[in-house]
Amino acid sequence: MGLIDRRMGIFLAGLFILTVAIPVGNLLIDGKPVPSYLVSLFGKYLCYALLAVALDLVWGYCGILSLGHGAFFALGGYAMGMHLMRQIGDRGVYANPDLPDFMVFLNYSELPWFWHGFDMFWFACLMVMLVPGLLAFVFGWFAFRSRVTGVYLSIITQAMTYALMLAFFRNEMGFGGNNGLTDFKDVLGFNLQSDSTRAGLFILSAIALAAGLLIAKAITNSKLGKILIAIRDSESRTRFLGYRVEEYKLFVFVVSAMMAGVAGALYTPQVGIINPGEFSPANSIEIVIWVALGGRGTLVGAAIGAFLVALTKTLLTGWLPEAWLFALGALFIFVTLFMPTGVLGVIESTLRRKPAPKPTQEASV
């Protein structure tokens, strides 16, 4: 089957319309039918969607349930955040040309070594992919080689993100501690506060999401993709066919981590802050919920899931600030119990005409 099947086509079309409609509605049409904050809000959703796609790639297709994908997202976010911090230059409250405010404040004499280079945009972009990729590689190299699987893998990924969270909370780490990185001014000279920059970031996120989807789709369509599914269904069988399972897992894990990193990098400038909270295990669990809710192993479904949950959260925290947790919790339970194939699955099965007739006994003998 081709890269863009019906499902993907419809989604990309929808995404495209959104990508045109929102900026136009915000910038060109006067009276702003689309208020500015909706732009960055939807931009945020798109980043979440990309993150969900990344997770679906490893979980849905290779059976690796990572409860630590938030870590890769956050690392990407921090990499970008560090660039934005350097961009502030001497416009910080202490007006220090090279040191971000929090460093001045913690009496750093000069920039820590790991902050060097982040003043260059290309370097930051590189790190956005490299750092999460590297972490994923090291972690995966150990875990997959020693055949840690199932729940055990999930829990140690959780341990990973938890440890990182604690680490980033420490002010000694040189990442701004609990406050994280914030008060960004501009990126590549564009003022982050301006509507046009926001629209630009939004479009960028949309493009990134589309790209992420297509890459993921390409991978899953290839023979390698089939092998991933084979691994998911019967790991040892795949081994006996001569495939080095750990290599495949590692490959897809790293790719996914990089995708998550990109999502984080786009997320940071749009929400204007990156802080250790992003590492919290709860966040990573939420990602899993997006994927499950949208439809595991469908890529598009994952994106939709992320979008729906994030949207619901936005609306509910405004509508029923006192009781939204009830609604959200109930939603999760409902979906897991009554929509095992996720929202997308339900939608499609209602649309799809009867599936191919099941094999009958006489046919099989």
Binding site: V151, Y152, I285, A323, F332, I333
Partner: protein
């Protein structure tokens, strides 16, 4: 005794620096009346005089004062002692003790005391109770004298120790005398003797008194003190290792409690039970509710509150657990990852429910008397609540072990979890067993809540703060093996506490997490993995 009392007077008079030798009741009333005026120092002087007056009401009054019960009625400016009777403030005249009725909210203002005044009062009461017939009071008196050594009391203490019969009291008096000697200007010989006494005591209090003496003008004393300090510090170092183990064990037992319920629902049943923390929370809130009832209706039962709460918490959390199992988990067997999502939803709902019932704030859960305070073994300080939590954790573990291994229901549980189909075909009502198993796990989580309410916040966030650690413990120990959970909890606890002094709390935790990750590489199935011929095809 009478001899001592007359002696007391003479001493006290100089303590208070009173000119008059005999105080009369009138003066006493006047003194008490003058308490509210002036600043803390004035008040301190008055306290001294009250103590010196030798009036029988002195002790009661001073205690009321230091407890902030001595208050001035806003209505008529009368000085009263206010006592809380079942949440109602009852006033009684400070001097005559006559009933003064109920005090309306903010109807009286307490006479202010601060720490230094409280110390003065403590010392004064000390002097007055040094000859009390009750040994406990004499003991506190002696300890007070030790804490606030006052050279003028030296003779008094020495007289007291002569006709002291209770060994503990006389021991306390001995160190009190030593401390007092060092504080005053006694002879070098006496001081050296005193130092020797404190040296044998070898605790931090002694250290506190001796350290400054190292800089004493007299070379002999300085040397002796230095030697003593040095020796005490060495002994303390020696014991610090043991202290760490102790801390580790107590942290371990907390982890064990938090995780043990999960060892059933997750470890044995394979349900990734994200609502586990909330079940613990339910246990804690049950404890709170029980204590509320007791506080309001049967205060005398307070010390029993935990014992009453435990079974209730078990049932409460257990019931919720069964509800969760019947309500959603049972539709998800064989889809462990889906259980993660559903139970996550459940946990959100439970949190918010508790928040809307009990409010978002922390709730007060009191320590019963037998769980407050600490005692020393050698130079180790063991706090009672930690000790009891340790005992409690082991007890829970033992019970669980017994249920799983020795009872028919336990047998059925193991059967169902090992081979559902087979168990079913052998006529076991698997559905019922599942519910019971999950209920058991949940109930035990509830029990944990009872214990944790003693050392941590009782707030809607209680659960969240334990969930990750719990999973770590179970996985590290090896899912499906409750012995593993035991070993896991204590090894993590102790490792943590040994790292903490060097790396600090946060880094210690990080290091432990990394170690767990690496350890899982070595043993992908945890500490107590289920070994044998791997049977996957």
């Amino acid at each position: 005794m009478t001899h001592l009392r007359s002696y007391l007077f003479t001493v006290l008079t100089c303590v208070a620096g009173l000119l008059a030798t005999m105080a009369t009741a009138q003066d006493f009333d006047a003194l008490v009346a003058s308490l509210p005026d002036g600043n803390f120092d004035d008040r301190a002087a008055v306290v001294g005089q009250i103590a010196a007056s030798g009036d029988d009401r002195a002790v009661g009054l001073l205690e009321a004062l230091s407890d902030g019960e001595l208050q001035v009625l806003k209505s008529d400016g009368r000085l009263v002692i206010v006592t809380d009777v079942k949440g109602v403030d009852i006033a009684a005249d400070a001097l005559t003790g006559a009933e003064a009725g109920v005090v309306p909210r903010r109807g009286a203002s307490a006479i202010r005391v601060n720490n230094s005044l409280r110390r003065t009062i403590g010392a004064a009461i000390g002097i007055l109770t040094l000859s009390s017939p009750d040994p406990a009071r004499r003991l506190t008196a002696a300890e007070a004298a030790f804490r606030a050594p006052d050279p003028d009391q030296l003779d008094l203490l020495q007289t007291a120790i002569l006709d002291e019969t209770d060994p503990r009291v006389s021991a306390a008096l001995k160190s009190a005398i030593a401390a007092t000697t060092l504080a005053g200007d006694s002879t070098v010989a006496d001081k050296l003797a005193a130092i020797a006494i404190l040296k044998t005591q070898a605790n931090q209090a002694a250290l506190g008194i001796l350290t400054p003496l190292v800089a004493a003008p007299d070379a002999q004393i300085a040397a002796a003190a230095a030697d003593a300090v040095d020796q005490i510090e060495r002994t303390q170092k020696l014991w610090s290792g043991a202290q760490n183990v102790l801390f580790g064990i107590s942290l371990g037992s907390v982890l064990l409690l938090a995780a043990i319920g999960l060892a059933i629902t997750f470890g044995v049943m394979g349900v990734i039970n994200m609502a586990h923390g909330e079940l613990v929370m339910i246990g804690a809130y049950t404890t709170f509710a029980v204590q509320e009832v007791i506080r309001n209706s049967f205060p005398f039962l307070f010390d029993w509150s935990l014992l009453i709460a435990a079974p209730l918490a078990f049932l409460m959390a257990g019931a919720v657990g069964v509800a969760i199992e019947r309500g959603c988990v049972r539709f998800l067997y064989g889809r462990p990852l889906e259980t993660l999502l559903a139970t996550w939803g459940v946990s959100l709902i439970l949190q918010q429910t508790v928040r809307s019932i009990f409010g978002p704030n922390n709730r007060e859960v009191g320590n019963p008397s037998w769980m407050s305070g600490a005692f020393d073994i050698g130079h180790l300080t063991i706090t009672y609540n930690r000790l009891w939590i340790f005992v409690f954790a082991l007890a829970v573990f033992a019970i669980l072990l017994f249920v799983m291994k020795k009872t028919p229901i336990g047998l059925q549980m193991r059967a169902v979890t090992q081979n559902r189909a087979m168990a079913a075909s052998m006529g076991i009502r698997t559905g019922w067993v599942d519910a019971m198993t999950f209920g058991l796990g949940a109930g035990i989580a509830g029990l944990a809540g009872v214990a944790l309410s003693q050392i941590d916040n009782v707030s809607p966030n209680l659960g969240q703060s334990y969930i990750v650690d719990s999973f770590m413990v179970v996985v590290f120990g090896g899912a499906g093996n409750i012995w593993g959970t035991l070993a896991g909890a204590f090894s993590i606890g102790i490792a943590n506490k040994f790292l903490e002094p060097y790396s600090g709390a946060v880094l210690a935790k990080i290091i432990v997490l990394v170690c767990i990750i690496l350890f899982i590489q070595k043993r992908p199935r945890g500490l107590f993995a289920v070994k044998g011929r791997a049977v996957d095809g």
